[in-house]
């Protein structure tokens, strides 16, 4: 009888976290990693820098990879260390990697489905906003294409996925040039924009639907505040409050959500939610 060998692909999550003067991304990453462990049962590797690692560590990541942070990016509230995401391909210790923003609130096992998709690279191309169901899709500019989202990326170690990340590096290094071509403001580097351009270049300037996660990325966006409904560490029920502006007046509206992943656009609110 012949012997069969089952090759099991390693799977894991990867988080990039570099503290800025305003936000402690390492703390956010720890909270997100715990939720990934709990809901997805995946190991988590963190990519960070020496300055972000706290003196006392109470959570052990699967791997801690230290790199030198590129601190050249800024936005309205100050330094924003989001460059270098292209290193995900080289740094990930896994055959199949779920690359998440640290402010993504995992509340279910839904992201496991991304490992089953018949593709070697995927990200979100469509979004919905909690309490703002009529919000339109974001575009690079009115003259350009719809934005893809780097908030959730699933990739396998393939030649094509490698090309996309190498291209992302090229776009990051020439962001002003691509800003001119696509007509967007290039003073702040955004991974979403970089990824949009990189995937299009790698795929011959086409729109490859196989590269899109087939459901919407859910954002908690402007004028929205999220409260957790109980103090359990792995709470999955939240009240979402929205300031509805109408004729110069605010009307407060709310709804309740549960067992649903979402991306927090406002880090202050995310920090409040993960505070124990």
């Amino acid at each position: 009888m012949g012997r069969t060998r089952e090759e099991k692909m390693s799977k894991g999550a990867l988080l990039f976290a570099f503290n800025s003067p305003k936000f402690n991304y390492y703390t956010m990453a720890v909270a997100t990693a715990k939720r990934i462990n709990h809901f997805l049962n995946l190991p988590v590797t963190i990519v960070t820098d020496e300055d972000s690692i706290p003196s006392s560590i109470d959570y052990k990541f699967d791997n801690t990879i230290k790199v030198i942070a590129d601190k050249s990016n800024t936005r309205d509230w100050g330094m924003w260390i989001n460059k270098g995401r292209y290193q995900a391909y080289e740094l990930s210790p896994y055959d199949e990697t779920l690359l998440l923003d640290t402010d993504y609130m995992v509340n279910s096992d839904k992201l496991l489905t991304t490992f089953d998709l018949p593709t070697d690279f995927c990200c979100h191309d469509r979004t919905s906003y909690l309490m703002q169901p009529t919000m339109s899709q974001e575009v690079l500019s009115v003259y350009s294409v719809n934005t893809l989202w780097a908030t959730v990326i699933n990739f396998k170690k393939t030649k094509r996925a490698k090309s996309i990340f190498e291209c992302l590096k090229m776009v990051q290094n020439n962001f002003q040039h691509y800003g001119n071509i696509h007509g967007f403001i290039d003073s702040t580097f955004r991974n979403d924009y970089g990824l949009t351009i990189a995937t299009r270049i790698t795929n011959g300037h086409t729109t490859p639907i196989n590269d899109y996660i087939p459901w919407n990325l859910l954002h908690a966006g402007t004028n929205t505040k999220v409260y957790r409904n109980n103090d359990n560490e792995f709470n999955t029920e939240y009240t979402v409050m929205f300031d509805h502006w109408n004729r110069g007046k605010i009307r407060k509206e709310y709804m309740t959500i549960k067992d649903t992943d979402f991306h927090m656009m406002f880090k202050d609110n995310f920090m409040e939610l993960i505070r124990e």
Partner: protein
């Protein structure tokens, strides 16, 4: 402060339309399954087609517009199960939502 107090103090109004849109987002994604090398959405059209076909294998366009040859009964089982499970959950939350009117 608990969320009920926050809602009361803010005099916030429950937004039924947003909640309905949120439920659609939440449950739409749960209809999706990967099976037999394709990606499928458990919707009535495909379930009806698989139910009414008689061949052992059929070729279908999957969600990514790829033609995939599938074992009909096996895919039908998975899609039917997914459809009923998701719709039960959706309905259950919908009933809760309707009580808030």
């Amino acid at each position: 402060m608990d969320t009920k107090t926050i809602i009361a103090e803010a005099r916030a109004r429950f937004n039924h339309n947003s909640a309905k849109a949120y439920l659609k987002d939440k449950y739409d994604s749960k209809f999706i399954i990967a099976d037999q090398g394709g990606l499928w959405r458990a919707k009535l059209e495909i379930i009806n087609f698989l139910t009414n076909s008689t061949e052992e294998h059929v070729i279908l366009m999957d969600n990514f517009d790829n033609p995939v040859k599938v074992d009909r009964i096996s895919l039908l089982d998975k899609l039917s199960t997914t459809y009923h499970t998701v719709m039960e959950e959706w309905y259950s939350e919908w009933v809760e939502l309707e009580k808030k009117r």
